[in-house]
Symmetry: C2
Subunit: 444 residues, 2 copies
């Protein structure tokens, strides 16, 4: 049965924890998996969490600590000595999870811990790779066999290697120089003759990445080839690790959230549980940009004799809103095209021509409506013309601007999603106002 | 070696295709995987694509057709008879891929095709599940063994079942009533004694979903438990299929893109390659909303004697921009909290209190800046006060509005990401103007 966190369940667990009724607690937890317990820790207080982890076996509680949210983990680990962190937690983890946990420790504790772990070479090695690279994502645990081995030898070799590897999806085949030459599936191994040689049955169509490959590229490759696990090699094509899909799924989710936050004007990764100060810090930069835009807008309007033509002020919100909306739409399409690698340089002209077409069509439709409304509401044909012409111009400009900005940002290696945020909206506001009042000046 | 699509490669392939030099083409394709060929088809013209597929073996070309983009597949399948579609394509596919391909066929062809496929029951069964449910995502192919079997019997049974299953990650264990009771990994099977009974070695902690479970929930569960494959059961807990992570990865990506598009004011899923008319259709609804907002804004400004106080017009862009930015920021945080299930009803009050705190802090900072700038630039203390007070009020309002709207939308089962789009911006524009001019009226 799948676990569901209910109030009666929680009350029962809390009661047993309070009474230090270890047997009952263990009986309850026996039905749970590590992510379930991590979910429960979110709700328990610190004392309860600590006690719960202390009575679970070390391997299970280490898994829980990997799954639990960062701030809770930090508190729980702070309470342990470095010896306990090493022996009870890190020794029970895969190298990639251990490296992740270590990376989040305070500098001083980190150093002490590293000097104490027994599989130090693996973990320290992982810590040396650059962030956001395949090397930082991979785990060192994997099963590899040699081309000339028989199936029987492979299985006995697996008995030794497999202890360290929790989930085995693929067995890697290497040559004498430890270079990756292919893979053999467990299914194939199970179904082949005992005496067959690996080089007769293995698959030499193997996709791999270098340790310096970016996580973005790793995600793209695993997604493209529907891979569950991806081997990592060094520059000599020697097998050094493997990346599993669950790490990539997290990456894909985080990336999507980042784009969305950028588009919504939030500058850093934040959680709803962050403090008011942190939330303010993440949001104020965009607000300041918006404010500067608004003040520049005020100056632009001030240049125009608005007193003589107050009715022009009526349409400021319309011009601004439309410019902003069109700009964000155009940017979003380009950002998604860039993200899915759908946009080659050779497609730029086509892309622009199409964007102009869409903007013109939308602009003409909207302008006609505005022209009619202006005439009906204010019976001013001249104002109607000024607003309509400005609207088409602003929409056309915003669509070009919205298309170019993310492309330029991307070429300068800035996240193009930035373009769909307040930055482009503010620029559009200012330039839109300028276009509107220039056209007004000219026609009036 | 990983494949990279280069111009020299393409030129060579095209030349061989043109010369109908089948041997060379096959030699080139032997190094490629189906997603690579799908990538190449994006660039080849229809005649070349058709010829290329015709010389590849049926199984490989069927895999390519699954990977290729929808519009290309449609054209290529249109060119085949229903017999060819059945025998050359569908018979070579897993049930879930076959069902996907069938679903995209024109109604008439669909009916003919269904009547002809041999594994019709499986595929037709899959077609009967509701869209966006676990049933629609799953494949019927899986390997199941009985609790009381020995390891030897399992392996010989797998020989029969495994032919139909391309990637085997887990073997499912069922009882006499075909009810799912656990799993056994291939690793365990390989490393266990031949005569061990499955019920001695299998893992009975199995996570499963019902066929009617939503794809959102499927993605959440697979992500939470780091699963590569998830079994699907019916209401009697009988094993009926399995979902693999690659399908869920696609879902996660599409969902993220949908949220982002909604936030950017694009109403339907579009590709940069869509026609101008489709692109316009996806974008004009939001523009019309923005326009109506702009016209209402004009009316609101018209209510106020702007002619006597033209300087008030200067700050319209500022008020609008800040209201919009704050509203979108607040919505985005709530939308993400809803998506990650971080927001219980019990947290509402806390959420709101915090949002008010952040808005007030941001509002006061921005207002002070505006007050100073107004004084320096226009030396009008009264105007400065009007703008500052309006700014705080509008920002406070926008943050509350931005927090509530996604929660309300979510409760009414509308995608809350809609709130971060032009809808909320437009509402904020209108209400912000109203607040601004009301305060001005009151103070002046």
């Amino acid at each position: 049965m799948n676990f569901e966190l209910t109030k009666p369940f929680l009350d029962e667990l809390k009661l047993h924890l309070y009474k230090k009724n270890d047997k009952q607690v263990l009986k309850i937890c026996d039905r749970l998996l590590a992510p379930d317990v991590a979910e429960i820790l979110k709700i328990l207080n610190f004392k309860e969490s600590k006690y719960l982890l202390s009575i679970l076996n070390d391997e299970f509680s280490a898994d829980v600590l990997v799954e639990v949210e960062e701030d809770i983990r930090e508190k729980l680990l702070n309470d342990l000595s470095t010896d306990e962190i090493v022996e009870d937690v890190l020794e029970n983890l895969d190298s990639d999870d251990a490296a992740d946990v270590i990376q989040k420790l305070p500098d001083k504790v980190q150093k002490e811990v590293i000097s104490k772990i027994s599989h130090a070479t693996d973990v320290v090695d992982l810590l040396s790779y650059e962030d956001s690279s395949a090397g930082a994502l991979m785990a060192k645990e994997l099963i590899k066999v040699k081309e000339e081995w028989s199936v029987v030898r492979c299985v006995s070799e697996m008995r030794i290697q497999a202890k360290k590897v929790e989930n085995v999806y693929t067995i890697y085949v290497v040559n004498d120089k430890n270079q990756l030459t292919g893979t053999v599936s467990l299914k194939k191994l199970l179904l082949s003759e005992k005496r067959s040689q690996i080089n007769k049955i293995f698959d030499n169509h193997v996709i791999s990445v270098k340790s310096e490959t970016s996580d973005e590229e790793v995600a793209r490759i695993m997604n493209k080839y529907n891979l569950v696990v991806l081997p990592v090699v060094n520059n000599r094509n020697e097998l050094i690790g493997r990346i599993t899909i669950d790490d990539v799924l997290d990456y894909v989710k985080e990336e999507a959230e980042k784009d969305y936050q950028l588009a919504s004007g939030i500058s850093e990764s934040i959680e709803p549980n962050d403090s008011i100060i942190n939330l303010t810090k993440a949001r104020i930069p965009w607000l300041i940009i918006g404010m500067i835009g608004g003040l520049i807008g005020a100056q632009i309007i001030g240049l125009f004799p608005i007193k003589e033509n107050p009715i022009l002020a009526f349409f400021i919100p319309l011009i601004i809103a439309m410019g902003g909306n069109v700009g964000v739409q155009s940017s979003a399409i380009v950002v998604q095209a860039i993200a899915s690698k759908n946009l080659g340089v050779q497609h730029w002209t086509k892309r622009l021509a199409k964007e102009v077409g869409v903007a013109l069509l939308n602009g003409i439709i909207c302008s006609l409506i505005v022209l009619i409304v202006c005439f009906l509401l204010y019976s001013q044909i001249k104002i109607g013309i000024i607003v309509s012409v400005s609207l088409v111009t602003v929409m056309l400009f915003a669509s070009l601007f919205g298309t170019f900005v993310p492309i330029i940002l991307n070429n300068r290696r800035v996240d193009p999603a930035l373009a769909t945020g307040p930055f482009i909206t503010t620029m559009n506001d200012v330039i839109g106002l300028f276009i509107y009042f220039s056209i007004a000046e000219f026609i009036i």
